[in-house]
Structures are given as structure tokens and as C-alpha cells.
Amino acid sequence: MMTEQGRVLSALLQGKFICQVTDEEAWRFLKRKENVEQLEPHLSLLNRTLSTTAEGDVFFASYSTIGEAERKILTQQFQETASNLVPLVEWLLLVQQANETDMPVTMGNAIRLNELQTTIEDTPAYAEQLEKISRYRMFGSTSVNLDGQLKQVFKRLTELGYLVKPNPEKQIYIATGKVEHLYEILRFIDETEALSLSEQAEAAISQGSLL
């Protein structure tokens, strides 16, 4: 029998993000300081350390020292993340707009696929947007009908760990901590490149153009 510690450790070593949605037990385990202290030597043996994001609510393993090999892996990862940013942001906005509450998708949000589909079907602008999103290389849908496009997008997002589907028989998805990580990345890029994205958006809204 594997202990909880072993289970959490192997999840971390597999490069998984651990949050309350994906694995509540592991998340609770990592929330306790003494558990983390026990885990850290095992991780450091493999040149890894426990890192958190989204104000300490999402855990993952990161490299403690970065050599050439690690840098190569990270660069590859980063390039993938960077190229996925636009499709992901467009998808987040689509879900937010189609979801009548106008709330951004955050960790723990439930997305009911059927309701979303109805709204998108009823609004040609959303349907167009969905088609555009599903054609991105990240999602790679070739389907011509809306149903197939939506399913493909959600399937890919589940594979990539942005969503989980708690009940395989129900079309309800829950956003994971990786979505929070995505926001953090956007925020980081915003600050580092001094893009002042919020101000741009606000200016655009006040001018009534677009969006």
C-alpha cells in the first residue's frame, strides 16, 4: 500500500498541478507544513522543490537548480504555453460571456456543457467565435458542426488539465487550479512587459469600441 505521502510525491513528480478541485486529499496534505517538510527531502533528491501559485492554493514541483537540460525542457514548455495563450484567453472570454452571470472562469467554477451549447447555438457571434477557437492548433478540431467543435475543445482542455469532469456520465466540467495559473502568467507578462492590459481594456470599453 502506498502512503498518502507517496501518492502525493508521485503526483508531483509526474508534473501534475494539485489543487482542491483535482485532488482534494493531496491538497489538504500539502496544506500542512509538517507534511511539506517531510516531502521536501525526497523532492530535493531529484532536483525538485515544491512551489505554489494562485496565493498558495495550487501546488506543483519545480526544479531547484536549473542546468542546461532543465533549461531546455522549460524553454520548450514556455513556448508551448506562450502559443496557447491566445486560444485559452479567447476560450475563457467566450465561456464568461456565454455564461449569463458575466463571471470570469475561476477555480471551482462548474461549466455545464449543455447550457453553454444552447447559448452558443442561439448566438451566431458566439458560434463564430467557437469555430475560430476550435481551429487553433492547440484544439485542432476539424469538425464542421458546433457540437463536435465544443466537445473537442473541452476534451483537449481536460487533457491539458484545465478542466476536470467529475462524473463521466454528466457533461459538467469544473475549472482547476491550472486556470488560476494561467491568470498568474498573464499578470506576470502584463507586468514584465509593461503592457498595462487593464488600462487598455478600460480605455477600449470607455470608447465603446470592440468588446
Binding site: 508521485s10 513528480l13 509526474q14 508534473g15 531529484l46 532536483n47 525538485r48 512551489s51 501559485t53 506543483f60 514541483a61 519545480s62 526544479y63 536549473i66 532543465e70 533549461r71 525542457i73 522549460l74 524553454t75 514548455q77 514556455f78 513556448q79 504555453t81 506562450a82 495563450l85 491566445v86 484567453v89 479567447e90 475563457l92 472570454l93 464568461q96 449569463e100 452571470t101 458575466d102 463571471m103 470570469p104 475561476t106 495559473h181 491568470y183 498568474e184 502568467i185 498573464l186 499578470r187 506576470f188 507578462i189 502584463d190 514584465t192 512587459e193 503592457l195 498595462s196 492590459l197 487593464s198 488600462e199 487598455q200 481594456a201 478600460e202 477600449a204 470599453i205 470592440l210 468588446l211
Partner: protein, 406 residues
């Protein structure tokens, strides 16, 4: 006097009941669709003070008293007004208490009891309006201002609610219990009303309001967070639209890689099975049994594909050669039949000078006998010679065998 009042009240309530649909429609829509109802009915309702016309040009609306009644009874979440005028209520309470004391002083008991019931009514009204205000605030918080859709509107609603809480709190400061207890003096009933009952309500309201305030601030923070996120998303798209060739710098090349982009990859591979682990035997068996199915199928397909040549040459005959030992046993049986005399196996062995191991020979004789068919067995009798083991009974050592005809 009271009879007339009762009659008038009944008439009003009857009218409300009779035209309930009109009133509810007006409550929902805000104004009366005058063309749908007869002018007489409308006129009657106006006279009863249910409807009114704010301007000569404007449409008929519900009087606020009726609207408040409906909002209060239906617990409608659209109800956003909060009666914060506690100071005025308190002043009227003080006045009534003075009336009551004066009447008591001059022994006008009738007047006193009338003042008392008035005062009671006012106190309860005040406490009800307090608890009502808190309830309204709470209901708005619990559904997170669900009656407006956009986050910006929610923020405005939240700010309004916060203003109302502040107002209510400042109004609560108007309660001066030292003054109230002075007014109540030593009168037991007054003391109960003005000090005990009001104080309980006051402390409860103050407590609840502080909770409300905390929750409102909490919600505001969340709404602002949502707003920030939405702006971030929209801003990014906008930026990408204006600068399509924008690419974030490669942060992984920095000497200090930000932790956001420092995510280690998967190093846990699949473990190999340990076939010597007894605990897993069952599992392995299951795995293997499910695997062989697949391989068997594959193997068969290959066989079918490879069998293409047809051999048309004559099949070589197969000659079955019997074991010499078996032949000797058969000869022994024949010999017994021919002579018709019983003979021990070892005797025959010596006679023929056979070269097998004697033990093997005896064993083979027994085997040969057992191999006969049921009917053939009937002809022979097999009699073993030997002795029991001295220690372990039930163990019989055969030294020789006599085969005879029955």
C-alpha cells in the same frame, strides 16, 4: 368612530382582493396599462389610495405603501429601500412615553392605556423595521446581487448597500439608553418596552450589521478581482490584435527563472513487474490471462498467412513400433493362456532370461493387466506376493506376482 374605520378598511381590503390581478401586474410592470381596465375601477382605486398619478401626464402607479406591503410580504429581492429614519421614531417614542406618564399622573387610566398601546405599536414597528432592513441586506448578499448581471453593476449595488449599512449604523447611534431609562423611570411596563425590548433588538441589529459589513467588503473584493481578471483577458486580446507579432520574452533564459515558468516535467515512469513477488501473483495472472488472448489471436492470423504451400507428395506411412517390454508382457499373458497354469512373473522372467529391471518388469505386468478391457480382465486373476511394512500398516511391498486363469 371605530365602526366607520372598520368599514372603510374592509372596503379597501375588498378592493385590493377584487383587483388583485391589476395590482400585481402594476407591481411587476411599474405602471398600469390603463386601456386594459375600466376607468371606473381605476378611479375607485385612486380614491382608495392604492394607485396614484405622480404627474398629470404620467401613468398610474402603485402607492408606495402598497408596494412596501407587497415587497415585505413577498420577500422580494428587488426591495432595496431601507428605512433608516430611526431618530424620528425614537423622538416619537419619547413623546408618547411622556403622554403616558402624564395621563397616569392625573389618574386618567383610559387615556393612559390608549397611549400605552400606541407606544407598544411604535416600539414593535421600530424593531420590525430594523430586523427587516438587516434581512433585506442579507438576502442581497446571499444571492450575490443576482438581480443585476454585470460585475460592474454588482459593484455599484454593493456600494449602495455599504452606504445603507453605514447609514443604519449611524442611526443606531441615536439610541441613548441612559435617556430612555430615565424616561421610563420606575414604571415597569415602560421600562420593559423602552429598555429591555429595544435594547435586545438594538444589540442584535448591531451585531448583524457588523457581519453584513464584513461580508459586503468581502464581496466587493471578489467583484473587483473578477473585474480585474476580465480586464486582463480583454486587454490581452486587444493587445494581440494591435500587435499581432507580440511575443513574450523568453523568461526561461533568465538566470533566475520565475517560479511560474519553472515547472518540472514528469520523471515517474512505469515500473517493471517483479514476478517473484507472491503478493502480486493473482494480479499478474489476471493481467497475463487478459494478454494471451490478444497474442493467441495474433499468432493464429500469422499461421494462416504463412500456410500457403500445399504438400501434394504421398504421405509417408507411420509404423508404430511397440516397446519391447510391452511385447514381453503380452508374450507372458499368451504363455499363461497357452499353458493354462498360473505362473509367477519372476518365474517367467527367469525362464525367458529377460534383461529388464525385475522391478520394472513386475510393474509393467501390473500395468499390462490394468490396461486390459473389463471383459478380458475377467479371464485373468492377478495375485500379488509380498509383505506389509512392520511399522506403517497399509503399506504393502510386492515382491512377485502370480498370473493365472480364472
Amino acid at each position: 368612530m371605530s365602526k366607520v374605520l372598520i368599514q372603510a378598511g374592509t372596503r379597501l381590503l375588498n378592493a385590493l382582493g377584487k383587483h388583485s390581478e391589476l395590482i400585481m401586474q402594476t407591481y411587476i410592470n411599474g405602471t398600469v396599462a390603463e386601456q386594459d381596465y375600466s376607468p371606473k375601477v381605476l378611479e375607485q382605486l385612486v380614491q382608495l389610495g392604492v394607485l396614484w398619478r405622480p404627474d398629470p401626464q404620467s401613468e398610474l402607479r402603485l402607492k408606495s405603501a402598497v408596494r412596501t406591503l407587497l415587497e415585505g410580504s413577498l420577500q422580494d429581492e428587488r426591495n432595496r429601500t431601507i428605512n433608516a429614519n430611526i431618530g424620528a421614531s425614537l423622538a416619537s417614542l419619547k413623546t408618547l412615553a411622556e403622554h403616558y406618564k402624564e395621563a397616569l399622573h392625573y389618574n386618567r387610566y383610559n387615556d393612559a392605556s390608549a397611549h400605552m398601546s400606541d407606544l407598544t405599536e411604535h416600539v414593535y414597528q421600530l424593531s420590525e423595521s430594523l430586523s427587516n432592513s438587516v434581512r433585506v441586506l442579507f438576502s442581497r448578499i446571499t444571492n450575490e446581487f443576482g438581480y443585476v448581471s454585470s460585475v460592474d453593476a454588482k459593484i455599484r449595488e454593493n456600494e449602495l448597500a455599504q452606504g445603507q449599512v453605514t447609514d443604519l449604523l449611524s442611526q443606531l447611534e441615536c439610541f441613548r439608553f441612559d435617556q430612555l431609562s430615565e424616561i421610563a423611570g420606575s414604571n415597569r411596563e415602560l421600562r420593559h418596552l423602552l429598555v429591555v425590548s429595544l435594547q435586545q433588538r438594538f444589540s442584535k441589529a448591531a451585531q448583524e450589521l457588523s457581519v453584513v459589513q464584513a461580508r459586503l467588503l468581502d464581496l466587493l473584493g471578489r467583484f473587483r478581482e473578477f473585474q480585474g481578471r476580465t480586464r486582463l483577458l480583454k486587454g490581452y486580446l486587444l493587445h494581440m490584435e494591435q500587435h499581432p507579432d507580440f511575443e513574450p520574452g523568453n523568461y526561461t533564459n533568465l538566470t533566475q527563472v520565475p517560479v511560474l515558468f519553472n515547472q518540472s516535467d514528469n520523471i515517474v515512469g512505469v515500473a517493471a513487474p517483479d514476478v517473484n513477488n507472491i503478493e502480486h501473483e493473482q494480479d499478474y495472472q489476471e493481467i497475463v490471462s487478459s494478454l494471451t488472448h490478444i497474442y493467441q489471436r495474433k499468432a493464429r492470423q500469422e499461421e494462416e498467412n504463412s500456410q500457403q504451400d500445399i504438400d501434394i507428395t504421398e504421405q509417408s506411412t507411420v509404423s508404430l513400433e511397440k516397446d519391447p517390454l510391452q511385447i514381453a508382457v503380452e508374450d507372458y499373458f499368451c504363455d499363461v493362456i497357452d499353458s493354462g497354469q498360473p505362473k509367477t512373473a519372476l518365474c517367467y522372467y527367469e525362464e525367458k532370461g529377460l534383461t529388464f529391471d525385475p522391478e520394472v518388469w513386475i510393474y509393467q505386468v501390473i500395468g499390462g493387466y490394468q490396461a486390459l478391457g473389463e471383459q478380458e480382465k475377467q479371464f485373468f486373476a492377478l495375485d500379488p506376493h509380498g509383505e506389509n511394512d512392520h511399522i506403517f500398516t497399509g503399506n504393502f511391498y510386492i515382491t512377485d506376482i502370480t498370473l493365472g486363469l480364472r
